[in-house]
Amino acid sequence: MGFFEFEKRWLRSIFDCVIPSGASRVLPEGAADVPLEGFIEDLLAHAPAQFCLGMRACTWAITLAPLLVLGRPKTFHGLSREDQYRVLDVMRSSDIYLVREMPLLFKTIGCLGYGGLPRIQARLDIEPRDATDPEWARRGAKS
């Protein structure tokens, strides 16, 4: 299922917030520093249609959430990083199941790509079994 370019930008901004750069001395690289585009492309091309539909709905919901969560007529993309954290923190603590599952979905998916990179594993002293990056990362790096 193809996402529009603007939707991919929204997705990127959510992943960048969930897995930020420079937030950890051990893991200075965040989602923005790895070729996560390749991962997103690959995921959306191969995941079941229902999953992709859900992902798209969640992307829109988080993008428009600042209005409800912060009372600010801005998209998630247009917020400062601190306000983005606030939005996701409020959502993940929500008593409404579907609302609190949204940040978790992006954390799960983001970590599935990010955590699978040998260089990220090496930073955590996990001996990578694969000598090369996954296929999506090699493709993402080329583009």
């Binding site: 917030c17 930020p20 079941p48 954390k107 970590c111 990010y114 955590g115 996990i126 694969d130 996954p134």
Partner: protein
């Protein structure tokens, strides 16, 4: 994991091998749908008995040397729906199944258990299973399976700290546990059982019974989706479908495989009932796809001062069945970074900080022998529509299980425990804090469960009005059509089912082989 090449192994044909053909046709004594625990075991027994066998597998054949260790590659190539298959209820519950040559045995934790005798007794009392086979018959098969699949506990050298700590934790709460009996020959402790064993040591069906059957003349067609079961003169005589790459969805030729003696469904408790439904079999009982049972489970993370290193050791090496009679079982589970990260609290800098402590995390899980019944039907999207919702009584057991896991973690010396339950703090510092669990409502949405081990959607029994298959696992209203997978189990069993599935398939395959045409 390249999909462009044809299969490298003699006896296996995949999409690339048949591309360009209009129709792929073949015939054998028995056509088996599915190459997991049930299908591969059936192929092993039937070929040993001298029968000609065709195995039909929807997933691809991924040789060990082509496996990648990252979880996403594994999801994409080895797991059904890339691991995103879910059951719908009040909560969305991931339903984990393999889809590859070897089925779920390729991605499971290699845990071996025999059918518990109290479960056999229950099946005998309520479902007349004793009129089909005695427990002694199963025991003999279990012994044989143990030998052939190299079943035994993980040796000290590769046991790993996650398992050692669980042993401490179990003993610390006054329970008894044991090293898990695993079907692994010379485990290297790579902690990658769930991504496909990178050293080929796990004796999953793709490296054990499938090759054995191929050596005895079986043919395996991979990337083949079975669609219709056809009959001749009132007897099921074959299966038709299409080659299709499950990852790229690229379509290939149609196929028609003829089974002179039988067609055996071993496609799992999710796919088998869908095939039966699509072809109108088992209608009299109205039970096809109903009575789905499973073992919902969840995990608890402990943070330890000393390194644990989840990336080394037997993936699942220690367990306790001490509380089995209370419908719960506990086991260690080494998750890769990708899965563990999602289980950690926080977003942004908080998450990154948590990730730094990855090597200090231990993860153990509880699985519940739930009483809930779900169902499986085909959805509008063509995939399985699985409905499942734990009962209040199941959730009460789950809560007690999580509380016990938390107590075990602290008993083993955890500095902090991350319970992963909505309504509890992200981090708790003492076992007493876990008591708050019992003040929470019985709501499955508070937990993050997965559903593994699936049963009951084509149960066996005496009458076509109260069961789908007879006591020889032949579909009541379809002579020549059999089901040998866990769909026929009348209930769940509270322990990991691979060995019981193999044993039942073995027993029924022997009967099929000895039956005159």
């Amino acid at each position: 994991m390249s999909r462009a090449q044809g299969s490298s192994r003699q006896g296996i044909q995949c999409l690339a091998d048949v591309q360009g053909q209009a129709l792929v046709e073949d015939g054998a004594d028995v056509v088996i749908i599915g190459s997991g625990a049930a299908g591969a075991t059936a192929a092993r027994v039937l070929t040993d008995a001298g029968l000609d066998v065709i195995l039909v597998e929807e997933g691809a054949h991924i040789p060990t040397e082509q496996l990648r260790s990252d979880a996403y590659s594994s999801f994409k190539h080895l797991w059904r729906d890339m691991g995103f298959q879910v059951a719908e209820g009040r909560a969305f519950t991931p339903v984990l199944q393999g889809r590859a040559v070897g089925g779920t045995t390729v991605v499971n934790g290699a845990i071996i258990h025999r059918l518990p005798e109290p479960i056999y007794d229950l099946w005998a009392a309520e479902h007349a299973v004793d009129r089909s086979f005695g427990y002694r018959e199963l025991t003999d098969i279990f012994d044989q399976l143990d030998k052939e699949l190299h079943v035994g506990p993980a040796p000290d050298a590769v046991f790993g700290a996650n398992n050692q700590l669980m042993q401490l934790g179990v003993e610390g709460i006054g329970a008894q546990g044991n090293r898990i009996r695993r079907n692994v020959k010379g485990c290297q402790g790579s902690a990658h059982c769930n991504q496909g064993c990178p050293t080929g040591r796990k004796q999953s069906m793709d490296v054990s019974y499938v090759p054995r059957a191929l050596e005895r003349g079986a043919r395996l067609y991979a990337q083949c989706r079975a669609e219709t079961i056809h009959s001749k003169s009132g007897r099921v005589s074959g299966v038709r479908g299409r080659f299709i790459d499950p990852v790229t969805r690229q379509k290939g030729p149609r196929f028609a495989f003829h089974g002179r003696r039988a067609v055996v469904l071993c496609a799992s408790a999710i796919q088998t009932p869908q095939l039966l439904q699509a072809n109108g079999f088992g209608r009299a009982s109205q039970l096809v796809g109903e009575r789905l049972q499973c073992h919902p489970g969840t995990g608890v993370v402990g943070v330890f001062d000393n390194p644990v290193k989840l990336s080394f050791g037997a993936t699942q090496g220690f367990e306790t069945t001490h509380f089995w009679h209370e419908r719960m079982k506990f086991e260690s589970v080494a998750m890769p970074l990708e899965f563990a990260a999602a289980r950690l609290p926080g977003i942004g800098p908080e998450l990154m900080h948590e990730l730094e402590s990855f090597n200090h995390l231990a993860i153990w899980g509880v699985q519940v022998r739930a009483r809930a019944l779900g169902s499986v039907h085909k959805s509008l999207f063509g995939a399985a529509k699985i409905q499942y919702d734990m009962l209040d009584s199941d959730i009460e057991i789950l809560k007690l299980g999580v509380q016990r896991l938390i107590r075990m973690m602290f008993a083993a010396g955890a500095r902090q425990v991350l319970p992963g339950v909505h309504g509890l703090p992200d981090r708790i510092d003492s076992p007493d804090e876990a008591e708050r669990l019992f003040r929470l409502p019985n709501d499955p949405r508070l937990f993050h469960c997965i559903a593994a081990h699936l049963f009951g959607t084509a149960k066996l029994g005496l009458s076509k009005h109260s069961s789908v298959v007879d006591l020889n696992c032949q579909v009541h209203d379809a002579p020549g059509l059999y089901v040998f997978d866990s769909s026929v189990f009348p209930t769940n069993m509270g322990v990991n089912p691979q060995h019981s599935i193999c044993a039942l398939s073995w027993l029924m395959s022997e009967r099929l082989a000895s039956r005159r045409r």
